[in-house]
Amino acid sequence: MAVFTIQQNGGALKVSRDGVILSTRINLFELQIEIRNNTLLFLPEGTRIDFNVDTVTGYANAEAVADQVGNFIFNANTGV
């Protein structure tokens, strides 16, 4: 079980796992997400968050996380 956090950093998505920021910054302008069986998968980067065992701080489920990332993309597009 891991605890993830997500954060927008300009045009990138910062993801941390158990307090450790993942070295890869996910490009918000090309990011896609798939959710299957409560598991969220960032494409093409590959980070996987399994909501059957993992959590993301501040979000109840995978779809809520993905929706927020959509807002990050919108913000990045509009300069927020």
Partner: protein
């Protein structure tokens, strides 16, 4: 289960059962071919099998283009939570109000004379509108247009401007309006009635001889004036100015001790006289 498409920020969101796919609207390319709208991952969907419903594959694809533009330009009205929209209720009600507007405050308008382009004006710029029901100081035939009451009551109300209170508007009952205005004088050697102010002059406890002078003020033929004189227990001499003319009576030359004396006069413009038509003394 429906295949539901929507925009989620910068994503095109596709949901079917527990599967959710988020396509990045910044790089998505779609094609309309083989009677489907085809996505880069190889999936294709028929317009009639998705939600919301579309009239054709082309309109379905156009909607994705619209979402793409909204995501990239922030064009969606719903994304700006502080915007005011043409089709949303209670948005202006949520704006902070100004308790006391001034003529220099700005208003937002759309100018019909300039293609409805947005412009600002001040409250002071707003053209004055007339109250069609108001009564004005310079417009004729307004009072004549009001419904007439044909029988008068003492409780009827009139509008006046109070001369003793900076001419503020007040109401007054007819009963009060027709009450005579009396002026009391505690003894005097000369009484000069002021007919602009009073309808009755009363001299009480007269302690000296009294001369009734010519009244002051603007006269009108038929105007009434009552003089009421009472001495202080001793008869006092009375002298009348020549403007007072006896009509069928004799002007009194003295009071009778302790008797109230009434003198009734009517102004007669023919000859400019105050005609004395009644002398009545207490028995």
């Amino acid at each position: 289960m429906a295949k539901v498409f929507s925009r989620a920020g910068g994503f095109l969101k596709f949901k079917e059962d527990s599967f959710v796919k988020y396509y990045n609207l910044n790089e998505i390319e779609i094609t309309v071919r083989d009677n489907k709208v085809n996505f880069p991952d190889g999936n294709g969907y028929l317009f009639s099998n998705v939600s919301p419903s579309f009239a054709s594959n082309e309109i379905f694809a156009d909607q994705i283009g619209t979402w793409q533009a909204e995501a990239q330009a922030g064009a969606s009205g719903g994304e700006d939570v502080n915007a005011v929209h043409v089709n949303q209720a209670n948005e202006i009600a949520g704006v902070t109000s100004k308790g006391t507007p001034t003529v220099n405050d700005f208003l937002l308008i759309e100018d019909v004379a300039d293609g409805n382009s947005k412009k600002k004006i001040t409250i002071g710029d707003i053209p004055a509108t007339s109250d069609v029901n108001a009564v004005h100081v310079n417009v004729a035939n307004e009072i004549t247009a009001i419904i007439e009451k044909t029988t008068v009551s003492n409780q009827d109300e009139f509008i006046i401007e109070d001369s003793s209170s900076s001419f503020v508007k007040k109401s007054i009952k007819r009963k009060t309006l027709i009450n005579p205005i009396n002026n009391n004088t505690e003894t005097a050697t000369t009484l000069t009635p002021n007919i602009d102010e009073y309808e009755q002059e009363s001299v009480n406890d007269l302690a000296t001889a009294l001369t009734i002078g010519a009244p002051t003020g603007t006269v009108a033929s038929g105007m009434k004036l009552i003089l009421r004189i009472a001495d202080n227990g001793t008869a006092r001499a009375l002298t009348f100015n020549a403007i007072f003319r006896a009509i069928g009576v004799t002007l009194p030359t003295t009071t009778t001790a302790n008797k109230v004396l009434y003198i009734g006069c009517i102004y007669n413009s023919q000859g400019s006289k105050w005609d004395v038509i009644a002398i009545k003394e207490e028995v």
